[in-house]
């Protein structure tokens, strides 16, 4: 029964990892940018949620209504102010600049909030659980988070393939020059892509903060989970990313079930295994 429980919890955890990954996948798809500070933005969103819940006395889920737009605004400004200048044939500038951002965010948070672990409380929701047949107990909150993750992926999928914004994203991704001839301002489109990416990061960060304790140093770890989910699922495929997140979550929980010290290691090994046998991921779309 422990094993079944570990797998079910792993699947639900995978939803959170898919949220970590979705924003990363999105900006890579649109502008081939990999944001090394992605994980630190997740932690920034968690701290933002913390500040809002403690100062305004709101529930974390209500705080999302503030965190998401603020993160989106940060994303847009960041992209237009700094990151757009780094894009080009050379991969080094965006990598180095987002690496610098990662250091700045980590140490900025350290200055403001100290290194103490923090946690957000979602009240009664946190302890509520559903009893499933077979004696399984599954928390309502993890189920809710998983459902939101699926909804976010579906929403992004819809935006990408059925909205005019998504059309613009794909056009700019295909051919930047020609897309501009269609009246699309590349700088603005990239700004919107980063805004959308950090909006998802906002949700991911608040969920992270409700689920576990967090401190300023854990960002890079979240980046790695998101990255692994993207690669396992296959570049450019959002549903693949969700499956990648689930595979990662389940592997970690199975590893932890064998030996608590193996939790993270098992996830990394699952990733390296997929890389070895299917280097393009399980469901690749981008070449």
């Amino acid at each position: 029964m422990d094993w079944v429980n570990a797998i079910v919890q792993g699947v639900l955890l995978g939803g959170l990892y898919a949220l970590f990954a979705a924003g990363l996948s999105l900006i890579f798809g649109v502008m081939r940018l990999v944001n090394i500070a992605h994980g630190d933005f997740i932690v920034l969103a968690a701290f933002l949620g913390l500040t809002i819940t403690t100062t305004l006395g709101l529930s974390p889920l209500v705080a999302l209504a503030l965190v998401v737009p603020v993160m989106a605004a940060i994303g847009y400004v960041l992209q237009r102010g700094i990151l757009n200048r780094t894009l080009g044939d050379d991969i080094l500038p965006p990598l180095m600049v987002t690496f610098g951002l990662s250091v700045i965010i980590q140490n900025g948070l350290l200055e403001i909030y100290s290194a103490d672990p923090q946690k957000m409380s979602a009240g009664a929701l946190e302890t509520a659980s559903l009893s499933l047949p077979g004696g399984l107990n599954v928390g309502v909150l993890p189920i809710l988070m998983f459902a939101v993750a699926v909804a976010v992926i579906a929403g992004l999928q819809w935006i990408f393939y059925h909205s005019s914004l998504g059309r613009a994203f794909r056009a700019v991704s295909d051919k930047q020059d020609i897309a501009q001839l269609m009246g699309l301002n590349k700088a603005h489109i990239f700004g919107l892509a980063m805004a959308l990416s950090l909006a998802v990061v906002g949700i991911a960060g608040v969920f992270l903060g409700i689920r576990t304790s967090f401190d300023p140093s854990i960002g890079p770890g979240r980046l790695i989970f998101g990255f692994e989910a993207v690669i396992i699922g296959g570049l450019g495929n959002l549903w693949g990313t969700l499956i990648g997140g689930i595979i990662l979550g389940v592997s970690q929980n199975i590893g932890a079930q064998i030996n608590p010290g193996w939790q993270l290691l098992a996830g990394h090994i699952a990733f390296l295994f997929v890389l070895a046998v299917r280097p393009r991921g399980l469901f690749p779309r981008i070449d």
């Binding site: 081939r32 940018l33 990999v34 090394i36 700094i82 200048r85 780094t86 050379d90 991969i91 080094l92 500038p93 965006p94 990598l95 180095m96 600049v97 690496f99 610098g100 951002l101 990662s102 250091v103 700045i104 980590q106 140490n107 900025g108 350290l110 200055e111 890079p220 980046l223 790695i224 990255f227 692994e228 690669i231 010290g261 193996w262 993270l264 290691l265 990394h268 090994i269 990733f271 390296l272 890389l275 070895a276 280097p279």
Partner: protein
């Protein structure tokens, strides 16, 4: 009537000759440091040399082979742990264990490269990070090496380096200096060889060099292994100086990759001189600002971003553009022969 002029290709210039002489003098002066420097100064200088070595190696990897890694701490930590393992389990003298640690580092880099070379560009970078995490978590599982809390080098082994404390300190100092010189010599020789020319071609245009029949994968693979081996040796030296190792210290991304990247970016990526200048700037900044703690790191991050945006070739690149200075004669120039 025409006067015949002959031209030839040369790499050396007057400045590079002067630089070679000055460099040699500086080296002699530094080698004599145990005679003139205090204990703390020698420790600091050792650290400078080891960071210089790491920075030059990362520069070779990212600036010349186009392999941007944020996971070189994997090899620093691996080298350190190999030194401790060889010393503790095999009773090997640290002096013998260091080159062996380097060899093992290059060896373990083979399967690592085969795996992560499947990733491109920035994804390669994060892939190297995952590898470093796997190393960290794996070494934390080895209880004979202290598990997650780490272990110390047995006193008897430390004493086997040299009997007196000052002699031990001088020895480790010379080893650090020797490491930096070794790395510089290896990289310089590599870049001046035919392979170096191929590497420069790959750096400038991967597509074009491929069409000239350069096997890009093989060159990158070779550079990755060389870098891994020398990084592991440097790592062994770092932890020989510290005398204590733990997974978190050995595989720290901040200490062994972030700082190293800042050194190279600030100094100037893709030049041999850049990391040397960068390491000097880095330590000047650190010695003056380190009391600020996390604010210091904040400033460092901001400086790196500004340099990348405003002067992507770093301080050395700016200097070179304005003066044409080149200390290491790498680029070929056409000179008119005297008749």
């Amino acid at each position: 009537m025409t006067t015949e002029r002959t031209y030839s290709i040369s790499r050396s210039s007057k400045t590079s000759l002067v630089a070679a002489v000055v460099g040699l003098l500086v080296l002699v002066g530094l080698a004599a440091a145990p005679l003139w420097a205090g204990r703390a100064d020698m420790r600091l200088l050792s650290e400078v040399f080891l960071y210089l070595s790491l920075a030059c190696l990362w520069n070779l990897l990212a600036g010349y082979a186009g392999l941007v890694s944020v996971g070189q701490q994997a090899f620093v930590g691996f080298g350190g742990y190999m030194l401790f393992a060889l010393a503790i389990f095999a009773g090997m003298s640290p002096l013998a264990a260091i080159p062996l640690a380097g060899l093992l580092g290059a060896l373990v880099a083979v399967p690592v490269a085969l795996l992560i070379f499947r990733l491109r560009g920035a994804y390669f970078a994060i892939g190297t990070w995952v590898i470093a995490e796997v190393f960290r978590l794996s070494f934390a599982q080895i209880s004979a090496l202290g598990g997650g809390s780490g272990t110390s080098l047995p006193v008897a082994l430390v004493k086997s380096i040299a009997s007196s404390r000052s002699m031990r300190e001088a020895t480790t100092y010379w080893m650090a200096l020797g490491m930096a010189v070794l790395v510089l010599v290896v990289i310089y020789a590599l870049l001046r060889s035919r392979n170096g020319l191929a590497l420069t071609a790959i750096r400038d245009s991967e597509l074009a060099s491929q069409s000239f029949g350069i096997d890009i994968w093989r060159h990158k693979f070779a550079v990755y292994l060389i870098t891994a081996g020398l990084t592991a040796m440097t790592g062994a030296l770092i932890f020989l100086q510290k005398l204590r190792i733990s997974p978190d210290a050995a595989f720290s991304v901040n200490d062994w990759t972030a700082f190293v990247i800042f050194i190279v970016v600030i100094g100037g990526i893709g030049t041999l001189e850049g990391p040397i200048l960068g390491v000097i700037v880095f330590f000047l900044l650190r010695e003056t600002l380190a009391d600020l703690g996390s604010t210091y790191l904040l400033i460092l991050g901001a400086v790196a971003i500004v340099v990348m945006l405003k002067a992507p070739k770093g301080l050395w690149g700016m200097l070179k553009e304005h003066t044409g200075l080149e200390l290491f004669p790498l680029s070929r120039r056409v000179v008119k022969d005297k008749t």
